[in-house]
Symmetry: C2
Subunit: 298 residues, 2 copies
Amino acid sequence: MDILDRDGNGLTEREFLERYRAGDYERPSVAVDMVIFTVTEAEENNYRKLPEKELRVLLIQRGAHPFLGKWALPGGFVRSNETTEQAAARELYEETGVDNVYLEQLYTFSDVGRDPRTWVMSCSYMSLINSGQVQLKAGDDAVGAAWFKVSYRLLRERKELIEGGYVKALQYELKLSSNYGELTAVVERTVTATETSTATSYTIVSNDGLAFDHAKIIAYAIERLRGKVNYTDIALHLMPKLFTLTELQQVYEVILDKELLKAAFRRKVADLVTETDHYTENAGHRPSRLYRRRLEEL
Amino acid sequence: MDILDRDGNGLTEREFLERYRAGDYERPSVAVDMVIFTVTEAEENNYRKLPEKELRVLLIQRGAHPFLGKWALPGGFVRSNETTEQAAARELYEETGVDNVYLEQLYTFSDVGRDPRTWVMSCSYMSLINSGQVQLKAGDDAVGAAWFKVSYRLLRERKELIEGGYVKALQYELKLSSNYGELTAVVERTVTATETSTATSYTIVSNDGLAFDHAKIIAYAIERLRGKVNYTDIALHLMPKLFTLTELQQVYEVILDKELLKAAFRRKVADLVTETDHYTENAGHRPSRLYRRRLEEL
DNA sequence: TTAATAGTGTCTCTAAGACAATATGCT
DNA sequence: AGCATATTGTCTTAGAGACACTATTAA
């Protein structure tokens, strides 16, 4: 054993680790919170028209303090024998029964006092599943779970010059609606730019019905989703195995909350999908070719 | 007080919180690890030529077990009265003396066993500073700190079809060099795509001289930096107050590790900068106009 | 004068925006 | 026949790539 392998106390690494006892300084609890998105279809009275798509997120009504009766993201504490990613997959499976779906870490929220009980950080994840995969088993629990329709819109924009920079504040209205009612929150994204720095922070301006800082987490997830939709095939994880290009376009539109041009859209997604020989039937109008997600790489 | 505000034990939220005691299940330590980038100039023997830029990252040589003598990212544990962001800013200040710089959360790493002592998660941050802001005070500590030149290159690419999808593995060579020697690691990014999911994971293939999983964190940071350089003004945080467009282009090139076309580059960054009336002097060739980061919004 | 960089002009190529035209199953 | 959607064509516009040309200093 080389002398260089010994520390100031003359211990080797093995000896050091054998003697190591975790200090008794305070440690946080770490939870994962899941923003689980899916897309469903609204009922359509005209059988010849296509149903509208709706972006939905899964929430759970709290049956205990704190935030008793409020709606929260599904989640739970991370265990010492698993990664946050594994914890997220586990929670997702427990909550929805789905497995092998798109899962992405978003951000770790750690505001002091974000949980009134104790020191809890939240490592948030976003998951995209197609509604065919999951039974919408709302209400089979004493404490209910429900898919809330998502709307996220810019409410107002404020720009202020400060010495050596500016502050730009964007307020977004987050509206979540389901049979259980409507939840509304206003989340502000503030960008502070100075000579040498640029910092972005989120704050909850108002909040009616959502637990903890979950309005912030959902807002963050929607922005990540909107961003990635434009340069990845992420939205395809929201589709069933076979789908039409119009359906795919509707999903893009409901995520981005804006209308897209048909021709340009088709060109753009052309190499994200593979065409099949199947067509829609009995739709009351011209049949449409069905596509699936392209898995062979370019 | 409404009866509805009481939980299964008949407690209000206030009563619940007063009685609440944190459970004694295990909690992780949470550290922040900082990937601090700057750009320096290599010495140039020909006084008429422009010096080459180098991307550098700050590392600290460990003076204690575990990984005694290895190089690690600066960092430290998060305290219960601060956010991870505040902890990152605090560590950054302690390590470099700089303040009010660009700081961005990257990813929370939580692999089981990533720290041999105990359960430690790492919430990683990236910071960009210009080398003028900081004294390169390497060696003023018993345990040294040093700025390592960064090279990160694709080494090999493997693509494999599996049932219902594919696996794509990209191996990158991370080379860090300074007066203290050269550290080399190979990090693999694996993308596994199936019918319903796409998952990306990082693994360390080989590692010579870096502590913990820090090779992974640095690789992740470089990829984030490379990605953001193309669609934000993030690179401007690496520049001094006044700079030439050629210098800015050199910084882009050293980050992206590829040459850019001058005319196209200037068009692209035109609205990220503001021109000044100052010029370089005594450069041995035609003077160049100096620019600064544009702070007025478009 | 010349080395070396600064700065601009312009042609091409590709992708996106805009909109129109044509195609087709179903009732 | 005609509704409603499917699918393709093409003109325009914006931006990136490629490359060449001109400008300017200090030694």
